[in-house]
Amino acid sequence: MALFDALNISASGLTAQRLRMDVTSANLANAQSTRTPEGGPYRRQDVVLQESSGDGSFAGALSGALGGGGGGEPAGVEVAAIVPDTTPLRRVYEPGSPDADAQGYVEMPNVNPVEEMTDLIDASRSYQANVTAMQTTKQVFAKTIELL
């Protein structure tokens, strides 16, 4: 258990929430994109978070080698994957579009701007919660250092 574990844990939360904001922004930016490098219209991307095991970190390995258990200690959060949303695409009647099919319909991305905006607010609030946790920890550690 190192002194700065709590700071690293909060930092992992900041990284994860920042990525959620990035992905949400990409979804909003591509709400009208009918073409992608993979072909077909853009599909909404979703971030999957998981609790970090801490096995890969230096601190986790050191703690394990010293017989400190290693397991069970908190190690923060990590991004498991960014997966495409498989819900059906929107079909819009637009016969003039170059991407229209024989019936004049264009497949548009399955992005709902309202949903993206609420996700964005959610991620930004979670980011702030991690910043607050970090500030509390920093304040306490500053006091500890004053003791020495």
Partner: protein, 126 residues
Amino acid sequence: MTGPKPAMSILDPTQLTLMRAISGATLRNAVLSNNIANADTPGFQPSDVDFHATLSDALDGGPEAIEAVSFAPEQLNVGAMQADGNGVSSEAEAAKLAENGLEIEALEQVAGSRLSILRTALGMGG
């Protein structure tokens, strides 16, 4: 350890208890931060460290038990607070974190005052 224990060491049981309490509260700080970091992880259940109970049990066992005390986080199975099975209440965790931070500061204040008394006794100045 063999032989009789010295009547009094520089770091008496009270100082030792204070230091163990600080390390328990520091672990709790990390665990609560971890709960906040995982507030959006599907299926995550929060943990907490009941270092007061662990320390209080060790106090009954004398100085050796206090010396050897170790703390471990425990998962609280509070059920789902969100549709994805996550059990973290950010507000509750933030409140616990603030409270725990104040507790560490209080413990350090007391530990620091006792150390400064020792420093004076050793002629090193307050």
